[in-house]
Amino acid sequence: MAPGRVTLALHLGVPAVLGLLQVVLPPFHHGMLTRIMLFATYAAGYNLLLGYTGLMSLGHALFFAAGMYGAGLPVYYVGLGPGPAFLLGVAASLLLAAGIGALSLRTTGVAFLIVTMLFAQVGYLATLHFNRITLGDQGLVLAGRLAPVQVGGWTLPLTAPAVRYNLALAALTATLLGSLWLVRSPVGRVWIALREHEERTRMLGYDPFAYKLLAVVCSGGVAGAAGAAYALLFSYVGSTFASILYSIYPLLWTLLGGAGTILGPLVGTAFVTYAVDTASSLTTNYLLIVGVALVLVILWAPGGVMGSVRARWWRELP
């Protein structure tokens, strides 16, 4: 089934608007949006697993961190260029996702949640344990060790705001359109079928394990790409990003924005980031406001923001 023209327009329109915004945004919001797009990429990857395949992981920080360290360590120690470093980061996360996925997928439901969390804790602790390499919680600064990207005759320093913004935009756009294509492809149909009714899907002759593993690998790879991009664009690699908090965030962003919708993770990430930023200017207890906001949004829209849009107004929203 080809996506409807309106749907396609919407999902092409959002990146286009984001692309235009960089011209008008003041510097601070320009930077905020750069980070939001990177983390929305992470959340969108997470959404492939949670939203479309129905598997709730609490261990995605491992894949994010695999991308971050996979890209960051070679830059720090051997001065690898940004392109190969990025690919190494993605490769590291794909490899880990395949291994961890093969093990964790023997479990289901809450056990899957816990097993992925445990593996992620192992990864987090490993970044601390091998502190002579990773410098532990303190982390590594890549600034000054990273060569600029060479595209044709152009030299693009990764720390230039415009370069950073457009690379984040490219990552997000690729992920959004890739997700849209994937979930409408035969593979995506099977994922959704697994989410809705695993036994029935199995009886139709599909191997649930293989399809779920593919979902974990895709999702982990996108998370890794986001992590690698963060390391390269923001010059920092540290174990905080491997901690449980960074497994909870994509879960929160995705559920709040609407799991199982293409744009939900972006909406959720933007909402939470700006809620924190705005509330912190008003009061010390800004997380209290964020907490209340979460509760209110979920009371009003239990399917997340985009989930409610779909339920109320736009049933075909992918």
């Binding site: 930077g31 920092y236 009061t283 010390t284």
Partner: protein, 432 residues
């Protein structure tokens, strides 16, 4: 010391008058009165961004850093501000989180358009945020005591002019420990970067003095029960050297007491673990007679100078190191002076370099890098300082205190020279 006696008296008066107006409350924001001066003098305010750990694991320190910053700004504004401009402090919470810390640097620089950023404490936040400050080319003055500035990891825009780093602290203390407490030392330290600075630099310094590290016991920062680690400390150890951070310290001391009982080795600890904690807390009885490093003695009269008294008074700390309004609210006295001194460094260097606006950052940075010392005075109540420009790091004296009757008595004071080590980094070679 800029300004004569009259100015100082005026300063105190002004500080007193403003004390009621400048309110730091848990619930509200920092309320200050910079605009009063802005209107009075006609000069535009100098906006200084304050990156503060209001929430997260650093919140106890953050609370006192914020009170200290407010007091310093009141005092500075009472003296006529910085370079004739009243100071406006703009504080943003970073949640003690590296990602948010980076955002806060951007927010302060780009949205609030501050001219300096200062105040960050926890090393992972400093290290994540400093590269952004370098890119945005805004002076970033941290109060963190980590070795990360002096190690050369950061950049030309990042300084630590208000507090001595861990490497200097332990270098200064090692001879005293080996000579007075014993040669065979077991080290208990947090299993993260702050602990590694102790592990690496104290170990080396102790060996140079003929000491021996008989056990290294790293403890994960999230640990809540310590009993199982004590078997790793050999009975033959003369000294247990302990540095802990986070809420577990009371448990640690209590369980150490239960474990060793009367057969206890000598103890040398770092006040970091007991910042914000009452020395009379239940469970700390076991520390009686043991020794602690302090950067700045918590109990009044232990470092008896007029500047110490004025600092204590201005921040609102009583003779026991607690808040004047709540004796249970214990300060982080060995760290927060760094916030005060950093703000005065900004004042001194702005005035010395003729800094007027961000166009003059070069002058500010080069003047600071050429500065070799800060004299003891209102701006430097902790004592005289030596500044090493190529390291962007300040060096000062350290104190050893003994726990006696639920108080801390200073028994030794190091010189600045005791803490000097050969410099490795040179920031002055980096481009501006």
């Amino acid at each position: 010391m800029p300004g004569g006696k009259l100015t100082r008296r005026q300063a105190l008066k002004a500080a007193g008058a403003l004390a009621g107006a400048g309110v730091v409350s848990r619930w509200g924001r920092l309320v200050d009165l910079p605009y009063v001066y802005a209107q009075a003098t006609g000069a535009p305010p100098l906006k200084i961004g304050f990156q503060v750990h209001r929430t997260g694991i650093g919140a106890v320190y953050g609370k006192w850093y914020e009170r200290t910053a407010a007091a310093a700004v009141r005092t500075i504004n009472g003296m006529g501000g910085i370079g004739g401009r009243p100071v406006e402090l703009i504080a943003e919470d970073d949640g003690t989180d590296p990602k948010r810390g980076t955002e806060v640097v951007e927010k302060l620089a780009q949205q609030h358009k501050v001219e300096f950023i200062f105040g960050t404490l926890f090393s992972h936040v400093v290290i994540a945020a400093a590269p952004r400050a370098g890119e945005l080319k805004i002076p970033y003055l941290v109060v963190s005591e980590g070795y990360h500035v002096a190690s050369g990891t950061l950049n030309r825009y990042t300084f630590q002019p208000g507090i001595t780093d861990v490497r200097a602290q332990v270098t200064a203390l090692a001879p005293w420990i080996v000579k007075n407490l014993g040669k065979r030392i077991a080290m208990v330290f947090p299993d993260y970067a702050f602990g590694y600075d102790h592990r690496d630099f104290f170990g080396a310094a102790a060996r140079r003095q003929g000491g021996e590290i008989v056990a290294l016991v790293p403890i994960p920062p999230t640990e809540t029960s310590f009993t199982k680690y004590f078997p790793k400390i050999p009975r033959t150890a003369d000294v247990v050297y302990h540095v802990m951070v986070g809420p577990g310290v009371l448990t640690f001391v209590k369980e150490m007491g239960e474990h060793f009982g009367r057969r206890k080795p000598k103890l040398f600890g770092f006040i970091d673990s007991l910042e914000g904690v009452d020395i009379g807390s239940p469970g700390l009885e076991y520390l009686d007679g043991s020794y602690l490093w302090e950067a700045f003695p918590r109990y009044a009269g232990e470092y008896n100078t007029q500047w110490e008294k004025r600092f204590r008074d201005a921040v609102g700390v009583d003779a026991n190191g607690a808040s004047k309004s709540d004796p249970k609210d214990v300060s982080t006295y060995s760290h927060m002076f760094g916030v005060w001194e950093t703000l005065f460094v900004i004042k001194e260097i702005v005035e010395k370099s003729g800094y007027k606006s961000p166009k003059d950052y070069r002058a500010f940075i080069e003047t600071l890098e050429k500065t070799e010392k800060f004299d003891e005075g209102l701006g430097h109540p902790q004592g005289p300082k030596r500044f090493v420009g190529r390291l962007h790091q300040v060096f000062g004296q350290q104190f050893v205190s003994q726990v006696r009757g639920k108080k801390l008595k200073v028994v030794h004071r190091t010189t600045i020279d005791d803490g000097m080590y050969p410099p490795e980094a040179d920031y002055t070679k980096q481009p501006l």
